[in-house]
């Protein structure tokens, strides 16, 4: 029946599509941003335990450890190996004077533990050479321009001049800065104002020892905080959720999208039902039960919902498809969970709107059909 009223039908489909698009798009970016806060944790794939100062809360603000702490950790039973990791900010400058603050990761000289696994140019061997660093895509393109990548370019890091030995595919950091990987002993001379010490100790458990168990042992015997990558990642995400305006900002946008969806679809549905009341009255007079009429209306609502939702989700997917090569937006994508959540929310909203307006069909006195 609703299909007989084109403008309303399209209005409804559009409102639902818009609301779906806005919600799924904003949720995706929200989740993507939160995901980025733990990029540096996630990119360390060869170690699974992070040891830090007991007061350290998340990955981006660290109280330094001493070499002493590294040795203590190595002494804990069940630790297969433990290596230092430096995470700091260093100013990088290219030969032409282009400069930018960069995230500097200093990885263990011997094992290079913490280096990303995926190389776009060069390989991990090249980092063995003195004064050689690996840089991520964003950094390379910022300093040296678009691919093809040319290795061996010079970069001034702090007071050191280094060469780019490899381009790696690092996960996008929360602040969109280049990421530079250097050997630990060289990296401590590149950082700016920070203490020239290690930020974390990365460790791996011996076979047969669970990570949780080892974390507890390390904590007990060294007094340091030891977390699995997973826990530390979530701690970092929660730190950002609790201490930044991000969730509120996104929450507002998502609520507005939901409200627009609810209001427009609710409004259109009640208008539609009001305008068609005499037909519903006629149907009731003829003997069609309210249940059947309501079922018919809800059926139509669900069809409109399915069409609008599909369009909205398609637009979101298209957006992330088209922007997947954009360096600022990379890593943002439409997760199935977000599709489901958006679908669930918009479903509830449209169903509520329909049920609220459909109530009038149930109470209408069929005798109205005889009145002028």
């Amino acid at each position: 029946m609703l299909t007989g009223d084109r403008p309303k039908y399209f209005g409804l489909v559009l409102a639902i599509a818009f609301s779906t698009f806005l919600m799924s798009h904003q949720m995706s970016i929200f989740v993507g941003l939160l995901e980025r806060t733990r990029s540096q944790i996630r990119d360390v794939q060869d170690a699974s335990i992070w040891i830090m100062d007991p007061k350290t809360q998340y990955v981006d603000e660290v109280r330094a450890l001493s070499l002493q702490d590294l040795y203590f950790v190595r002494g804990v039973e069940g630790v297969q190996w433990a290596v230092p990791l430096l995470k700091g900010i260093a100013r990088a400058k290219a030969a032409d004077g282009t400069f930018r603050n960069s995230i500097l990761m200093g990885v263990d000289d011997a094992t290079l533990t913490g280096l990303p696994q995926k190389f776009l140019a060069g390989d991990w061997q090249s980092l063995r050479n003195p004064k050689t660093v690996a840089i991520d895509r964003v950094g390379y393109e910022y300093f040296f321009g678009a691919p093809p990548y040319q290795l061996g370019q010079e970069l001034e890091m702090g007071s050191q001049v280094v060469r780019v030995g490899a381009v790696v595919d690092a996960s996008p950091p929360f602040v969109n800065l280049p990421v530079v990987y250097a050997k630990f002993t060289e990296a401590i001379n590149m950082v700016g104002r920070e203490p020239r010490q290690l930020s974390f100790v990365l460790a791996k458990a011996q076979p047969g020892v669970t990570e949780e168990e080892l974390c507890q042992r390390i904590q007990a015997s060294t007094g340091l905080k030891a977390l699995t990558s997973k826990t530390f990642g979530w701690d970092t995400i929660w730190y950002y959720i609790k201490n930044t305006g991000i969730p509120i900002n996104f929450g507002i946008t998502i609520s507005i999208a939901l409200m627009v969806g609810a209001l427009v679809s609710g409004q259109t549905f009640s208008l539609f039902i009001l305008e068609n009341m005499k037909y519903f009255g006629a149907l009731k007079a003829i003997g069609v039960t309210s249940l059947r009429i309501v079922g018919m209306i809800i059926m139509q609502a669900l069809i409109v919902l399915a069409i609008g939702y599909s369009i909205g989700i398609f637009l979101t997917a298209l957006f992330f498809q088209l922007t997947q090569d954009n360096l600022d937006l990379r890593g943002f994508r439409l997760l199935p969970e977000i599709m489901l959540l958006t679908g669930g929310l918009i479903f509830v909203v449209v169903l509520m709107a329909t049920i609220l307006s459909v109530r009038r069909v149930v109470v209408v006195d069929p005798a109205v059909v005889f009145r002028g």
Binding site: M1, L2, A282, L283, K284, A285, T289, R292, F370
Partner: protein
Amino acid sequence: MKEKRIASGNGGAAVICRGVEKAFGTGNARLQVLRGVNLEARYGELTFLLGPSGSGKTTLLSIIAGLLKHDAGSVEVLGRNLSELHNGEAALFRLKNVGFVFQQFNLIPALTAAENAAVPLLAAGWKRKDATAQAKELLTDLGMAHRADVLPNKLSGGEQQRVAFARALIQSPKLVICDEPTSALDGPTGRHVMELLRKVALSPDRAVLVVTHDFRILEFADRIAEISDGVIVKVSEGKEFQEHVR
């Protein structure tokens, strides 16, 4: 022709109202609309209910249709005492036994003529295809075969009312109720649809009850009941009435 009309019908009554009373509102706002209506509508006849505006015609019709509850008296429709039907039963009873024609046609805008006519069958659980096929047959009898797949807003008033007739008749109801079926139509069209109604609806085991203001269509009545101020003041055979008016 007139002889035949009066002779038609098996004499039994499809609708019997005895002392029907109905009031709206309470206290000072209370309005006694029906004050003891006695009325019969016989099988095989077109019974007209004639009366001034506000006399209670629609109210009485709604009660007979089971859409409104009366306060006192008894209403027997097709052998059933309406007070004994509860709501759900009343809807099913209407769906099966009563056909409706409204002044404003009330065809559903998104459905074609045939689909509109098929609505009662669809509500009764028929398959769409069978229901519309049946509807098309009936529309053919009403001279609407060529308009069966057209949406209501493309139909003239007379055509819409013919679709409404088809909808009212499609379940072969024993009682057909029409409230001012011609008042939204011009004179010749009104006469034409009444002619069709007589042709298609009249049958020995069906009673047709028509509420009207429209004196131009009175010649189609077998029996005319005049209502005034909530009581039936006079019942005459169609032929008598016309002679009287003349």
